[in-house]
């Protein structure tokens, strides 16, 4: 009987101690959830610059990405493991090799590009929206380079890219962006995180 008592007391002590640690924040906080994203867009759209700024890295020596670049981008409520892919023609053809395992897509476009380039961006975005490995995922579309005078507004982009009809039934966010206003960019990503959390709950993964 006394052994049983001892065991019970021991367990109570451990339970009390654990409660104490948790309540008094003595233990480590629970880790933030991580989400795997793929980031695509034409060359020059600003993918590397935006992601580097999000990680508070220097952007002076950025050149075209000639492969993939994976960054862990920390936010308050989550860590986004973003797989950014170069947008040059020689690299674009490999994009779909990296779609497997993605939980969300970030598509970045240059709002101030030529009509020809904008058309190419539209083609690529439509391909991505319809790709079997991406078509059910949340999309964050950033109409970048909003600071340039020639930048089209997000309304114009939404219309030109036919987002309302094409992306119907999918979860997507379209926001303007510029490296000059990183607070707004962070806010856009925070919205994406909410979509990712919703999707996680839907599939009962947490």
């Amino acid at each position: 009987m006394s052994e049983c008592m001892q065991l019970t007391l021991c367990i109570c002590r451990i339970a009390a101690y654990t409660c104490f640690r948790t309540l008094c924040c003595k233990g480590p906080p629970s880790p933030r959830p991580e989400y795997d994203l793929v980031c695509i867009g034409l060359t020059g759209s600003g993918k590397t610059s935006l992601l580097s700024r999000l990680c508070s890295e220097a952007t002076d020596n950025i050149g075209p990405t000639t492969g993939f670049s994976i960054k862990a981008v920390p936010f308050q409520n989550a860590i986004l493991n973003v797989k950014e892919l170069g947008g040059a023609d020689s690299i674009k053809k490999y994009w779909s090799r990296y779609y497997q395992g993605s939980q969300g897509v970030v598509f970045i476009l240059d709002s101030a590009s030529t009509d020809e380039d904008l058309e190419m961006a539209r083609t690529e975005l439509h391909s991505a929206l319809q790709h079997p490995q991406l078509c059910t995922l949340p999309f964050l579309i950033l109409a970048n380079h909003q600071d340039k005078p020639a930048a089209r507004t997000t309304q114009e982009i939404k219309k030109y890219f036919e987002l309302e009809p094409l992306a119907r039934g999918k979860s997507w966010i379209l926001e303007g962006s510029s490296v000059d206003n990183m607070d707004a960019v962070k806010q856009s990503f925070t919205q994406l995180i909410e979509l990712l959390e919703d999707k996680d709950q839907d599939t009962g993964r947490i």
Partner: protein, 260 residues
């Protein structure tokens, strides 16, 4: 980043395992905002051991997970070494499990950086200097040069919980279908942590960077004290596989005592 170099040569007897060229670099302390004041130095050869990946199979101590134990002696007898083979290793290897000539995909590691995820402070960064050796010089260089890195950290390093480790590497003309790294860290004969990363597909003639978040394994005060008191008894093996066959094997050791 400026650095001063001094090199130390080990005796020829140990050349087979350890590279004789150990360059000590003084790294600028970027931790001014961090109350930890972590000052790290690393001794590096031209190449360095990379530590980051595309898809992490959450690090685990594979000893408990039903993986059959393997020994270095067994593996050296195999024609090809697979990821499952190295996941069974219980301690650091004495020898390299493959020769430098097995790197047929011309994978080259060109940059390495560590930052503290809680403060964002860059703790350490090193870039490989451009290639200067010509074909004729190779005979004079230890074949294992470039496969071994010696790190010197202060004790505060062991208090970090999460670091982001970035590695940059280039790939030769052939595309790589399935690139995977398994890195195992030991203190003496105890496995501290095993990391398993799948980079997946690598485009031909590409330069790729990858950052992964390392969760430090929980270490007791006793183990930490021992690790600090015994520099270079913390060691790691990094194994690289293409299509599940070993193509590269790098090694590193670590001091946490704050000095050489």
């Amino acid at each position: 980043m400026s650095y001063s170099c001094s090199s130390r040569r080990n005796s020829r007897d140990r050349q087979a395992l350890r590279s004789p060229q150990v360059i000590i670099l003084a790294v600028a302390d970027t931790g001014v905002n961090s109350s930890n004041n972590i000052n790290s130095q690393a001794s590096l050869n031209a190449n360095q051991s990379p530590t980051a990946a595309m898809k992490v199979k959450k690090g685990c101590n594979s000893t408990g997970v039903g993986v059959p134990a393997t020994t270095e002696e067994e593996l050296l007898g195999n024609t090809a070494i697979t990821p499952e083979d190295v996941l069974g290793l219980q301690k650091i290897t004495e020898n390299y499990l493959c020769g430098p000539g097995q790197n047929v995909y011309s994978i080259d590691f060109t940059r390495f950086k560590i930052r503290d995820m809680e403060t964002g402070t860059v703790l350490f960064e090193i870039t490989k200097p451009p290639h200067t050796d010509k074909a004729g010089d190779k005979s004079a260089i230890d074949p294992n040069a470039g496969r071994f890195v010696r790190y010197q950290f202060t004790p505060a390093f062991l208090r970090l919980r999460q670091v982001g480790a970035t590695v940059e590497f280039t790939v030769g003309d052939m595309p790589i279908e399935n690139f995977r790294m398994i890195e195992r860290h030991y203190f003496r004969e105890k496995l501290l942590k095993s990391f398993d990363f799948e980079f997946g597909f690598c485009m031909p003639s590409s330069k790729n960077t990858c950052e992964h978040i390392y969760e430090f394994p929980p270490l007791s005060e006793d183990v930490m004290r021992e690790m600090i008191l015994h520099p270079y008894k913390t060691q790691s093996d990094s194994f690289y596989f293409v299509d599940n066959k070993l193509v590269m094997h790098n090694k590193a050791d670590y001091s946490y005592s704050g000095g050489p």
